[in-house]
Amino acid sequence: MSDLRSVKITNFSNDLSDQIKDAGFKEIDGCIQCGTCTGGCPSGRRTALSTRSIIRKVQLGLDEVLYDRDLWYCSTCYTCLERCPRKLPITDIIIQLRNLAVQKGNMHPTHVSLSHHLYNTGHGVPIDNEKWENLREYHDLSAKPPTVHSHPEAIKELQILLESSKFDELVGIEIEESEEKYEKEINYVPKRVSNTQQS
């Protein structure tokens, strides 16, 4: 039996669970791991997303959850939040975890692009082709909507605000004119707190 090893987590870190509680989610201690959340999750039943185990990882302070791709399979439908028997704001906790994941540089490339669209045009889905203006006119509307698309000064305002909240730094927008796009891939780096070998 000498080649049997078990991984024992003996050194729980409170950091992540404290971070989540400080963000306003003190209820996280109340999760009894019943799995009702996972049971109703529309994404979870076709992906590896297990909402229950995400909350468990937070309870145990395992910050590997911030490197977990499964965190991004949640469609924020709020079914888990509505059904949780302990009334945990589960979806809001997942959103908070996503914020922390992004701070660590974990962001899907298309989400980085969307963020760049927001900064550059003011729209997450901007008019990027004449056909959309033609379609608006076909439907008796102004070619450009009265949004940022008709007000370049509004885009400048938006940029000042996004720089003020440091969103530009977060998503890698270089303020100087640059041809290059910086893309951040999700890096899965499993971090075991401790390993023990049993002989």
Binding site: S75, E82, R136, Y138, L161, S164
Partner: protein, 318 residues
């Protein structure tokens, strides 16, 4: 109309920039009902809750607050047409009204562009205005002399998620697992709202899933489409442009990726609620944006509208 109200129309991104016929139908319907819609000049992305709230909550609050100040300057409540924009602006408004510390932080950013969030207005989805403020009875009366032939389509109603949840901040007096208000709005037009398996399930587009993992989002959509087809739905009625896009463009995407596994292909036309209400009020199919442009390529509706147009008695060219 007893209370003639004025609203600031928040457009968002998908409606003005990809699905403008939803904007057309809503403007026409509100005009017919005698409600004035003001423009929100310089409004931006709400910002989309499924993506931007997940990236940085403070930036989400900030850009949302900027949009709210535009309506505050108009001195009217906001009327909007998208569940995502509703999830953002309703909740940003509520958070900043009830949390003085967060409000101070956001206002310190806004001061840099000469703006200030005052917390003077409310945010309403047009479904809220139509159901709670105007009411089924008044709308039903208005449809009495609206359309000559009664509409009697078999409809699969899709609520979407952020219209209904989180329930404790939504204006519906309903069971969150079985809401009825949108079904009632559909049935006042004469159409029948069908019950179908997992009716309240998400379409799959939100939470950044369509942008990052399109195949996962479409798998959720496919499940809903199977359930809708099983009960004989002739059309899908939506209250959100992202759900609308996910079903409309999504059917084309699912059909083309399935290599004959989907047999026959999905072909259920997708209609936004104000398009349906407009028809019932006596507007033409063209006025509510159901007629597709013949000159523009690669624009919605992607799932052909012809089956519904024939059913409602519109002349359809071969």
């Amino acid at each position: 109309m007893k209370n003639l109200k004025k609203y600031s129309l928040f457009l968002g991104c998908i409606i003005p920039n990809r699905y403008p016929f939803i904007e057309r139908a809503t403007r026409k319907v509100f005009n017919k009902l005698g409600i004035e819609l003001m423009e929100m000049e310089g409004a931006s992305c709400c910002p989309a809750p499924g993506v931007f709230r997940g990236f940085d909550i403070e930036s989400w609050l900030l850009i949302g607050a900027r949009n709210l100040t535009i309506a505050e300057e108009n001195n009217t409540d906001i009327a909007l047409m998208c569940n995502g924009c509703y999830g953002s602006l309703l909740e940003v408004n509520h958070i900043l009204k009830s949390d003085p510390e967060k409000r101070a932080t956001i206002n310190s950013h806004l001061a840099k562009v000469g703006r200030e969030f005052k917390g003077t207005i409310e945010v309403k989805h047009i479904i809220d205005i139509l159901y709670n403020d105007i009411g089924i009875d008044k709308l039903k009366q208005r449809t009495k002399y609206g359309r000559k032939e009664r509409l009697d389509l078999n409809v699969a109603v899709h609520y979407g998620c952020h219209l209904v949840k989180p329930a404790n901040s939504r204006p519906w007096d309903c069971n969150v697992e079985e809401p009825r208000f949108l079904d009632e709005l559909v049935e006042l037009t004469g159409c029948k709202s069908l019950d179908y398996k997992d009716k309240n399930m998400c379409c799959g587009a939100g939470g950044g899933v369509r942008s990052a993992y399109k195949d996962v989002s479409l798998d959720m959509t496919k499940e809903k489409l199977n359930n809708m087809r099983e009960v004989g739905a002739e059309t899908i009625i939506t209250a959100c442009p992202f759900c609308h896009l996910q079903f409309d463009l999504g059917q084309v995407e699912i059909n083309s990726s399935s290599d004959g596994y989907i047999n026959p292909n999905f072909d259920i036309p997708v209609i936004y609620y104000t398009q349906l209400l407009g028809l019932a009020l006596g507007l033409s199919a063209e006025e509510v944006g159901l007629i597709k442009s013949k000159d523009l390529a690669a624009v919605p509706p992607f799932t052909p509208m012809e089956p519904v147009l024939k059913r409602i008695g519109e002349h359809v060219e071969a």
